[in-house]
């Protein structure tokens, strides 16, 4: 991967684009066949790559720092994951989905987070992937819940949102948040508790 140049080569895409050498070397036929073989998912991922690679790397750098893992590696893995999906047809916002996948990859790489997730999966007796991975199928299954949750978040205070983002997405410890923002750990726990209570209520409404 050529980091100096900025954009890496799309090496994970070449399997979709590798030219099949026919004996007659009929390039025209080959190119048409190649075009016909490109799945909608491949087309989508390619366009996401073209449009958002830079922005994604910058966001990862800003949020998770220089690493390890390096932002470019995380971004690369995110695109790889996307390219391996069957379809993203039901995802309303593919760009946001890309970012969510990338953030999750970064989060998983934090040892403490990985351990906690593994512990919880073990205690709940569910596969780790249920807790650790993001899939379009899951988003579709949980659509109502997620929509309700989205609405619930509109009622959170700025402080609650920030604490939520820092702990849930950035993977910061409460000690880290306390050091950066000056809030006491007790306050942070309180706010998080209140925020989760609100969100759980929104989630519960879906069942009733």
């Amino acid at each position: 991967m050529n980091k100096v140049a900025g954009k890496p080569s799309l090496f994970f895409m070449t399997s979709l684009q590798r030219e099949k050498k026919s004996d007659k070397g009929n390039r025209l036929v080959q190119s048409t066949t190649r075009a016909a073989r490109k799945s909608p998912q491949a087309v989508l991922v390619e366009s996401l790559y073209r449009e958002h690679w830079d922005e994604l790397c910058r966001a990862l750098y800003k949020i998770y720092g220089a690493g390890p893992p390096e932002p470019e590696d995380v971004a690369q893995e995110a695109f790889t994951k996307l390219s391996r999906l069957n379809t993203m047809a039901h995802i309303e916002n593919p760009k946001a989905f890309l970012f969510k996948v990338a953030f999750n990859i970064s989060l998983k790489s934090i040892g403490r987070i990985a351990k906690t997730r593994a512990f919880i999966a073990e205690q709940l007796n569910v596969p780790l992937a249920d807790i650790d991975e993001i899939s379009p199928e899951k988003i579709l299954e949980d659509k109502q819940r997620i929509d309700a949750l989205q609405r619930g978040t509109e009622q959170l205070s700025e402080k609650q949102r920030e604490i939520l983002v820092r702990s849930r997405i950035k993977g910061e410890t409460y000690a880290q948040i306390s050091a950066e923002k000056g809030w006491s750990k007790a306050d942070i726990c309180r706010q998080l508790n209140a925020a989760l209570a609100l969100l759980e209520a929104a989630d519960a409404d879906v069942n009733t």
Binding site: E55, L56, R58, A59, K62, I63, N93, K95, A96, F99, K100, F103, N104, L107, I113, T116, F119, I120, Q123, L124, I131, I134, K138, I139, D142, R145, I146, L149, Q150, T153, E154, Q155, S157, Q160, R161, E162, L164, V165, R166, R168, I169, K170, T173, Y174, A175, Q176, E180, C189, Q191, L192, N193, A194, L196, A197, L198, L199, E200, A201, D203, A204
Partner: protein, 370 residues
């Protein structure tokens, strides 16, 4: 009956415990002993297990929300100057022993300072804003860097006696009344405006994928594409709808759950207190009179003096102060153009039991001595 109540109390308690455990597990500071305690708690009963599964699911799903992506981009950068924090200053300050001179002076000097400060347009292009420190007020703006991934808040303010027309980056049009302030934050997923001071009329461009919200004090208006007016009054917020369907919510910050939500359509209006609770039910309003300010006119029909003065102050260069609280609720009926305010003030003295005194920099309205 008793059984059900008990069951409910128990479930609530278990939910609280479940949340507390989740928060502990992700605190970044766990001890082996406590982890064993968690296992014991989890395996106490199926109810415990279900509660925790539910908490964990909510925690997990937070990472699947579109808005989380936005917020994460905001929180990322430590160097970003964070939003403005202006106290909503009511120029029609009523005097009493409670309001001392320094408060009045600072409110007044702030008004003059604001004339120096100009509103700035943004057409979706990141621009730089200066941060000014003014007297008792701290005015700040978001400084954008060249980083496109960053979300920018844009700060708009109008001068006294001047309506300001703004086009937001999503194509929505906003008209600020005189001496009014909004902060606009428009991202790929949301369009959020805060009315910090005064009054504004919103003509929202339709976008089914992005909610447009306007927050004033603890009242929030949410639409996809409509037109409505929001007025931040002395101690209330009024929303008047001219087009479309508008959702108005009373917000409760920090700990409580959300407050009430009302839906308003064309020609409907609702009033809320500063804390977000609604006053009465929705009522109809007359666009010609209530929104005449858009054309630089005012029409008041039995409106309390305090609100009339609050509206007038946005269009008058001197600060008008009601000195005697007993005349605050005097019902005023009058109509005039913004440039006729001098005559109007004089007229008030003639038509109502009040006296109007002009100083160098203020106009005082007092109860008339019998």
């Amino acid at each position: 009956m008793n059984e059900k109540a008990d069951e409910c109390v128990l479930k609530t308690k278990i939910k609280e415990q479940s949340r507390a455990w989740l928060i502990y597990l992700y605190s970044g500071d766990v001890e082996q002993k406590k982890l064993e305690k968690f296992k014991d708690w989890l395996n106490t009963s199926e109810l415990h297990r279900q509660a925790f599964e539910s908490s964990e699911r909510v925690w997990r799903n937070i990472g699947l929300l579109d808005s989380t992506v936005d917020w994460t981009a905001e929180v990322g950068d430590q160097n970003t100057v964070v939003p403005i924090n202006i106290d909503s200053i009511d120029n029609a300050t009523t005097n009493s022993a409670a309001l001392n001179n320094t408060e009045r002076d600072s409110a007044h000097s702030a008004k003059n300072e604001r004339n120096i400060w100009r509103g700035i347009y943004s057409k979706g292009i990141a621009a730089s804003f200066a941060i000014l420190v003014i007297g008792a007020l701290v005015v700040g703006g978001i400084i954008s860097t060249n980083n496109e991934a960053q979300v920018n808040s844009v700060f708009y303010s109008s001068e006294v006696a001047q309506n300001l027309d703004i086009e937001l980056s999503d194509g929505s049009r906003v008209t600020l009344a005189g001496d009014s302030v909004i902060v606009a934050k428009i991202t790929d997923h949301r369009r959020d405006i805060v009315l910090k001071k005064g009054r504004a009329y919103f003509d929202v461009s339709h976008d089914a994928y992005r909610v447009f919200s306007v927050t004033a004090d603890n009242t929030q208006v949410r639409v996809k594409g409509t037109a409505f007016d929001v007025r931040l009054g002395v101690d209330n917020v009024r929303v008047s709808v001219t087009q479309g369907l508008v959702e108005v919510a009373g917000l409760k910050n920090h700990d409580g759950m959300g407050g009430n939500v009302r839906s308003l359509t064309k020609n409907e209006q609702i009033l809320a207190k500063s804390d977000g609770s609604f006053i009465g039910n929705k009522s109809r309003f007359n666009k010609e009179s209530d929104l005449a300010w858009l054309d630089g006119r005012f029409v008041f029909d039995g409106v309390p003096l305090r609100e009339v003065i609050a509206d007038i102050n946005r269009y008058y260069n001197k600060t008008i102060v009601i000195r005697d609280t007993e005349i605050n609720h005097l019902q005023i009926t009058t109509s005039f153009q913004a440039k006729q305010i001098d005559q109007v003030l004089a007229g008030l003295g003639a038509a109502y039991p009040v006296m109007v005194e002009h100083n160098n920099d203020q106009v005082l309205i007092l109860a008339a001595t019998p």
